[in-house]
Symmetry: C2
């Protein structure tokens, strides 16, 4: 199955935005992400609706951060994306009449639930500000070598 990378993508965008004042057009961000502007608008829509970012039309428009990075966690961002399913495996059918299926589902659901809860919990422990700090560290050691954020 193809893995959903929207969370990774939108975090990437947010971190880029945190490095310098905005606003940023979808086209600019798309270039940095090597993707299409429409994809940017798509993954940002939920964040905008929840007020984490703002978008402006017209000249000088684009995307702007509108939240305290220290107060927004990866969990918040994940939820803004619509809480897409976290697990690649699941039960064959829901609401099975077959007792065998019920036994199997009960066992698997327990494990699935634990894993999902753990993931969400971990996401909740990491703020965008922490990601920014980590990035600054990496940038710091690169700067000594005169390289940019996108340098190879």
């Amino acid at each position: 199955m193809k893995r959903d990378s929207r969370l990774s993508g939108v975090l990437h965008v947010l971190l880029h935005m945190a490095q310098q004042p905005g606003p940023f057009t979808s086209e600019t961000l798309a270039k940095a992400m090597d993707t299409n502007p429409v994809v940017i608008r798509r993954i940002m829509a939920g964040l905008r609706d929840l007020g984490y970012v703002r978008s402006e039309k017209g000249h000088g428009g684009g995307w702007t951060l509108a939240c305290d990075l220290a107060k927004v966690t990866l969990r918040d961002v994940y939820i803004a994306l619509g809480s897409p399913s976290l697990l690649a495996i699941g039960n064959r059918t829901e609401a099975p009449g077959c007792l065998v299926e019920q036994s199997v589902n009960a066992a698997l659901d327990q494990a699935f639930g634990d894993a999902q809860a753990l993931l969400l919990s971990r996401f909740g422990e990491v703020t965008l500000a922490m990601l920014g700090d980590d990035l600054r560290k990496r940038l710091g050691s690169r700067k000594l070598q005169g390289m940019s954020a996108h340098g190879a």
Copy 2:
């Protein structure tokens, strides 16, 4: 993304087989699972290769359990399926040159790794025998009402 239900499916098959002596043809199992015989053969192939089940051709042939159910865990079955990916979400790109992406990936990978490890650990704690016990309990309470394993 479409969820991979092969683990759920193959466990369902094994539990059905544990309820009565075999052998079972792929067609019989497929009917109980409401799917295609080829799908059964496909998900059983790994188990056969690892010796958990046997398959025989010709008249009176079919699938037979060939392991101690108390010694095979959901983890073993999962591995027999080829250890398909557990998570539906992932990083945008691997081996990114972009430092921003490195920061994002580092944060996410930590959480992903923890969740995968937890899932595998939980799988390792559950044996097929335990699933069978659970099923027998469910069957027991149904029998009092004169219903079969597939009764609605």
